[in-house]
């Protein structure tokens, strides 16, 4: 199964999820526990993806270079906490990553 097939299958599955209740809302009522859990999907998915990606960047680098992604992520967290802006993470994190990568690889 190549990338094209995977994208196609994930797209088809997503469409089925979208259509799943549209024709059966009168007959089906979701349990409240499932209803509650739905809003946790995005933040948990984001967390799992973010830490996996950061850890992947660190594992692939040497000891001094591995510090840069972790420091950039830490600065990003602090920037968002400080400003409350979502984009502060990128605006603070990327320059941190560039500078530290430059310093640690010099």
């Amino acid at each position: 199964m190549n990338a094209w097939t995977v994208v196609l299958a994930a797209g088809f599955g997503s469409y089925l999820l979208r259509m799943s209740m549209i024709g059966a809302a009168d007959r089906i009522r979701l349990p409240s526990r499932l209803d509650d859990s739905a809003v946790l999907v995005a933040p948990t998915a984001f967390a799992a993806l973010a830490v996996t990606s950061i850890a992947g960047s660190m594992l692939g680098a040497g000891v001094p270079q591995a510090f840069a992604p972790l420091a950039a992520a830490t600065v990003a967290v602090l920037a968002v906490l400080r400003t409350g802006s979502t984009y502060a993470a990128v605006l603070a994190g990327m320059p941190t990553l560039w500078i530290l990568t430059l310093l640690t690889s010099a």
């Binding site: 199964m1 990338a3 094209w4 097939t5 995977v6 994208v7 196609l8 299958a9 994930a10 797209g11 997503s14 469409y15 999820l17 979208r18 259509m19 799943s20 209740m21 549209i22 809302a25 009168d26 089906i28 979701l30 209803d35 509650d36 859990s37 739905a38 809003v39 946790l40 999907v41 995005a42 933040p43 948990t44 998915a45 984001f46 967390a47 799992a48 993806l49 973010a50 830490v51 996996t52 990606s53 850890a55 992947g56 594992l59 950039a72 992520a73 990003a76 967290v77 968002v80 802006s85 979502t86 984009y87 502060a88 993470a89 990128v90 994190g93 990327m94 990553l97 560039w98 990568t101």
Partner: protein, 272 residues
């Protein structure tokens, strides 16, 4: 003579004429143009919020070790930002195909809830409308549509409003992904643009940590995902998500019911 195809008949003669009446279409653009445009306007704040995320996805599609067009196709096919990110990232990392598909499906499980909510408003509509409306259903279009359906007695006006917002979102989303993919392929490696995604995700997560249930869910998901880094097929991500959700909905003593409803779809959450 009208209609011209009728045969000539004598005055007073009774004729049996079958008239085919075209079924009323669900939305007549001219009649509901104002509602359609109103839906487009209501979507503007969402567009500003989701455009950078679309650009990041486009850049990641260009940087990933998959055909750029395949990465872009996650837009029209999956049409859900976080699931698109997961799909591109996991394909780039060489994850097993089934793990990628399962992860995308888990992330998109909330669409079942949106589907159930919209179904009550789309009862009695033609099949083509349900197929189209369902395809366009995602967090921003859901919010824009439901908000209008809730205060509009004329369902057809609500349909026009939903469609206006959903269409402009769809077009914008695919366009910004294409821009990101085009620009991203030409940018130098030292920029390390692949790191945009985890940083962007951090920006999305941190403001939500005020909720106890969300904080617990995020922490557990992160810890479990890291602990499962060595799990084959990159299933650690899916395991982390499930563990995080389980932790979030589990009522620890004194914590009460997870307060998650109100944070369901915030503006910044955008095109998840």
């Amino acid at each position: 003579m009208f209609p011209p195809s009728l045969p000539a008949v004598a005055p007073g003669q009774l004729v049996n004429v079958k008239v085919r009446v075209k079924e009323p279409t669900i939305i007549r653009y001219r009649a509901y143009r104002r509602d359609f445009v109103g839906g487009m306007r209501a979507m503007v704040p969402w567009l500003i919020g989701v455009a950078p995320f679309g650009l990041v996805i486009g850049v990641s599609a260009a940087q990933a070790d998959i055909p750029t067009l395949a990465g872009w196709l996650t837009g029209p096919l999956i049409y859900a930002g976080s699931a698109q990110v997961a799909t591109i990232q996991m394909l780039d990392a060489g994850a097993a195909p089934y793990a990628v598909i399962v992860t995308a499906m888990v992330i998109n499980l909330r669409l079942i809830l949106y589907s159930g909510a919209m179904a009550t408003y789309w009862r009695g509509t033609p099949l083509w409308w349900r197929l189209l409306g369902g395809y366009l259903l995602i967090d921003p279009s859901f919010v824009v549509g439901v908000e209008r359906y809730g205060r509009e007695s004329d369902r057809r006006r609500g349909h026009a409003h939903y469609l206006g917002g959903a269409v402009v979102l769809w077009v914008t989303w695919l366009a910004v992904i294409a821009v990101g993919a085009t620009a991203g392929a030409r940018l130098p490696d030292w920029l390390r643009l692949e790191f945009l995604i985890p940083l962007y995700l951090i920006g999305e997560i941190v403001p939500k940590l005020r909720q106890v249930a969300t904080r617990r869910a995020v922490l557990v998901a992160a810890v479990v995902a890291v602990a499962c880094l060595s799990v084959p097929m990159h299933l650690g991500i899916a395991i982390g998500i499930v563990a995080g959700i389980a932790a979030g909905v589990t009522n620890a003593p004194g914590m009460g019911r997870p307060a998650v409803k109100s944070e369901a779809v915030s503006t910044e959450e955008g095109h998840r």
